[in-house]
Amino acid sequence: MTLLARWFGSRFAPDTLPGRLRRDWLAWVSGVIILLFVGGALFAPLLTTRAGEGEGEPNPVEKLEAPSAEHPFGTDQLGRDLYARVLFGGRTALTLGLLVVAVAVGVGVPLGAVAGYFGGWVDEVIMRLTDVFLAFPPLLLAIFIASALGASLINAALAIAFTWWPWYTRLVRAQVVALRDRPFVEAARVIGVNDLVIIGRHILPNTLSPVVVQATLDLGSAILTGAALSFLGLGVQPPTADWGQMVSNGRLYFPDRWWYVTFPGLAIFLSTLAFNLLGDSVQDANG
């Protein structure tokens, strides 16, 4: 049996989480879109002959041209090839997504571990803090922080991460509470291992896989939120390509130059959709 047939062969897929995922055609579709999206971002300069325009060089002789064989997605108001811009915009989107998730995990996970391990007033303080952050509508808080910090890619990512860490704190806390009285943790405590070492070496590694799964799936929402911020002018600044910013600029030439808003918006939609579909399949296979 060929490898491909083995992966597709639903009857042979074992009844485990990856096995059940393999039988879900939607999981396949979303996986392929995610691979295309990540590959497009990584190899952007190799996938277009107009990498310079993708990075922002203007090309004044070909302004606002409709899609054609030469420019599959048309061109923008500075004559740049929109296909190249969308490819390079994928780099911005992916960078932002990874930054958001990294910061949110970096802040949320240690706080959740400390809250779950120590309990008592430490737990109470940290969890009430998450309550306060979750009391804000998420996009609103991100807009507020991004405008306080000033518009840039890193600030947009920080602003979004600031509204997201509580979810990781809650996730990890629940895991740690379930682990903290297990025999291997008590054994470590009895022989006098430092609490922080117990958390870092013995407990956190056991909570890692749900966190990694959650973080990967959250990339989609991070991209969508980032696009909203840059649509409002709070994201990366020109000439760097960014999908949200492209839709915002294209609006000025809408609806005559329909292609300008259509393709960057489609990129936001499809990449977010792929991560969310995969997330739903994972949930389905889990439950």
């Binding site: 939607l26 009430r128 309550d131 306060v132 952050f133 009391a135 804000f136 509508p137 998420p138 996009l139 609103l140 808080l141 807009i143 507020f144 922080i145 405008s147 306080a148 910090l149 000033g150 989609g220 969508l224 696009a227 909203a228 649509f231 409002l232 002018g233 709070l234 949200g244 839709v247 915002s248 609006r251 809408f254 609806p255 329909w258 808003v261 259509t262 918006g265 489609l266 936001i268 939609f269 977010t272 959709l273 969310n276 579909l277 739903d280």
Partner: protein, 338 residues
């Protein structure tokens, strides 16, 4: 029950206090120079000095916070640099348009999301379930500002079915002006019997309300479906079916009653998403509401407006969630025990 209500009220009070403190802290501590940020776009040295004076930045933070809260509680939210009006009066002008849009979109979410969720849950794994699964995931993945443009392209550009933007058409505004009573066009026009104006306003609200509703519809649909799947496994449903009750009654009268309580959970979240989604949608439909006010303020670096709107909208959101919790406790006594 009384104890639960009191506890829930106290918690809401605590959250409101913390929300105001956090808003204050972010506005004063996060920016590198708060006075310059509060002084508007390209401020002169004089304007910065004035802002520093007004904010009391040389005072300890506690004193600044007391001042901040004092101003807000007396209804003084500062002045917008763009409109040159008091922010409080600007909000009063813009809020009704946004609330009308948000309420219509939440009504859409409930009217479409709940029945569709019931049907999807009833034939779990069937084609309707599969289709609504993909559609609702698409609904939470689509950028609202882009969906708005695509809908304009289709319904105005290609089919000429619906108006492009704004709350009323120019002709209707002149011939059949809607008298402002509540600020909600649909209500005001109906109250004064101005049916031509009502139809005009209704046609204008369709696209923005539907755009805003995509997220809440999807959320409500999924929650209702999940709750229905759980409830339909219960023995009393089997009993109802065994008695030969029509399937429609089983689903919508017996099962939905128990499924609707968890589904209501998303109401608060939907409200938050519609309100902040309006920031992205109103600018595209030139809807003269809070969202357009905020987006203009972001473009003009009108920071005092952003601070005030963040605080006011969040207070709204906290109160909505409080109301949802209390309604749930009323509908389902088990909530109190948790």
């Amino acid at each position: 029950m009384t104890l639960y209500i009191l506890r829930r009220l106290a918690l809401a009070g605590l959250v409101l206090f913390s929300v105001s403190a956090l808003t204050f802290l972010i506005s004063r501590v996060v920016p590198s120079d708060p006075a310059a940020l509060f002084a508007g776009q390209r401020p002169t040295a004089e304007q910065i000095a004035l802002a520093r004076e007004r904010l009391g930045l040389d005072q300890p933070l506690v004193v600044q916070y007391a001042r901040f809260m004092g101003d807000i509680l007396s209804g003084d939210l500062g002045i917008s640099y763009k409109t040159k009006h008091a922010i409080a009066s600007d909000l009063a002008t813009f809020l009704p348009a946004t609330l009308e849009l948000v309420l219509v979109s939440i009504a859409l979410a409930l009217l479409i999301g709940i029945p569709a969720g019931v049907l999807a849950g009833a034939q779990r794994g069937g084609w309707f379930d599969q289709a609504t699964r993909v559609l609702s995931i698409a609904g939470v993945s689509i950028p609202a500002f882009w969906l708005a443009l695509i809908l304009q392209l289709v319904f105005f550009g290609a089919w000429h079915l619906l108006p492009l933007s704004s709350r009323t058409s120019n002709e209707a505004a002149i011939m059949y002006p809607i008298q402002a009573i509540t600020g909600f066009h649909l209500v005001d026009a109906a109250l004064t019997g101005n049916w031509t104006g009502w139809v005009d306003a209704a046609l204008h609200i369709v696209l923005p309300a539907f755009t805003l509703a995509t997220y809440p519809i999807s959320l409500t649909l999924r929650m209702t479906r999940a709750a229905m799947v759980e409830v339909l496994g219960e023995k009393y449903i089997v009993a109802a079916r065994a008695q030969g009750l029509p399937e429609r009654d089983v689903l919508f009268r017996y099962a939905l009653k128990n499924a609707i309580v968890p589904a209501l959970n998303v109401l608060g979240l939907s409200f938050a998403f519609s309100l902040t989604g309006s920031f992205l949608v109103e600018v595209i439909f030139s809807w003269p509401g809070l969202g357009k006010y905020v987006t203009d303020s972001i473009l003009n670096a009108d920071f005092p407006v952003i601070v005030s709107v963040t605080l006011i909208v969040t207070v709204f959101y906290v109160l909505i969630n409080l109301a949802v919790d209390l309604i749930q406790a009323r509908l389902d006594p088990r909530v109190v025990l948790r």
